[in-house]
């Protein structure tokens, strides 16, 4: 499976990676960020369900990441080789040219940030150039967004439900995107690590 995942990373050329999760998602995303290749040449955007008043300091939470980690700022350009994480209580969206924007619109699937909101904007901004990844979570958020990514020709990975701390989110994503590549975190990490962008 890792070799299949690796070939998805390689061609056609990737423009961005978007990662999302909920319960158990912080650990899972942390594992993937730690496996990013040295010469990463695309931006990585992350949305995780966490409490609105969380004081999470993302660069510290993801200190094991091999790429620099920032809390996403409104209006900022996401640069290749860096990771941008949605702040608590805001949706993270991306536009053509990797310009980030935040929104305080209503919660989607009871979540802000919502994975659907980020994924749908990424499907628009990058079309076939985006890889959407859904990891552990106990909510169906992200499934519709991942389907939008596929519909625009992008690539989809989902953590295999039996290896996820919470399986509802991966299961919903697989239900919405039956042809998504279903992988363990280890397989995803191995593919990322041996990817030579």
């Amino acid at each position: 499976m890792s070799s299949l995942a690796l070939s998805e990373l390689r061609a056609p050329r990737l423009s961005a990676i978007v990662l999302g999760g909920s319960a158990g998602g912080i650990e899972a995303v942390g594992t993937l960020l730690a496996a990013l290749p040295e010469r990463l040449d695309v931006p990585v955007l992350v949305s995780l369900h966490i409490k609105a008043d969380s004081k999470a300091h993302w660069p510290l939470v993801f200190r094991a990441s091999r790429a620099p980690v920032f809390e996403a700022e409104d209006g900022q350009l996401a640069r290749p080789g860096a990771v941008y994480v949605a702040p608590p209580d805001y949706h993270l969206l991306v536009d053509v040219g990797s310009r980030l924007s935040l929104s305080a619109d209503e919660r989607v699937n009871m979540a802000r940030p919502s994975l659907d909101v980020m994924f749908e904007s990424a499907a628009w901004a990058y079309e076939g150039g985006v890889l959407g990844v859904i990891v552990s979570g106990a909510n169906a958020d992200g499934a519709a967004g991942l389907a939008a990514i596929r519909a625009h020709g992008g690539r989809a990975w989902v953590q295999s439900p039996e290896t996820a701390q919470a399986s509802l989110m991966p299961r919903a994503a697989i239900g919405a995107v039956p042809d998504a590549l279903v992988l363990s975190l280890g397989e995803m990490a191995a593919a990322l690590a041996s990817w030579e962008p």
């Binding site: 209006g75 805001y90 969206l93 536009d95 924007s101 935040l102 929104s103 209503e106 904007s121 625009h152």
Partner: protein
Amino acid sequence: MPTDRELFDLELGLLLEAIYQRYRHDFRGYSRPTLRRRLTQALASLQCESLSELQHRLLRDPAVFTRVLGYLTVQVSDIFRDPPFYAALRAHVLPVLATYPSFKLWVAGCGTGEEVYSLAILLEEAGLRERAIIYATDVSASALRTAELGVYELARAQEFSRNYMEAGGARSLSDYYVAAYDKLGFDRRLRDNVVFSDHSLATDHVFAEVHLITCRNVLIYFDQALKDRALGLFHDSLVRKGFLGLGSKESLRSSVHSGSFTEIDRDNRLYERT
């Protein structure tokens, strides 16, 4: 042949121009990703195939425009949203306002009014409410009606109260509202000195000299040019040493006006006009 996505954006630009020409509401400087999302929702609810079809309908039928406006101006807030912001106002701003015999506040983009009532309560507890005039402005007439009514879903009371306590509230929030059935209504006295008015940060101008402006989670929906326009209005409206409070993820960085303000409290996005 342009792609569907290129067509959507082309139609989006035309729709915003049509809305501006026909109804004088200017959304041309709003953030595209959010506009796409909100208008996609409007298309579904109004059962339109394309933005062109929606444009055709709203040019002819003001009722359709009113519904679209509801999608474009959706704004979500809470009573004492981001409690530390209000604690910061109490610490840094109220003592200065207390030195004036009378003063004015402007809540720019007040939406359905949660911030207005929060400020009124804050002033009340500092014994300053009667000295204040609060201008509460928004582009949405329907949001302003809700704001003026001061009636919210009772289901939100728990969160409102928790925010109020975290912001350092001195009493119980229920002292300020009456609950009936599934609604809660804020005490009318809180809006004695509040002027609700239609005002657009995109097209309107300075209307008063004020001592504090709060504009929270509004600028994130604007592109840089419109952000700069709004911040220019704020600068021109504030007295020297007047205060500006932004949303917790908004800042003056990358604005042409960043040099015209100094930071009072970075975490709480509180600034002072120089």
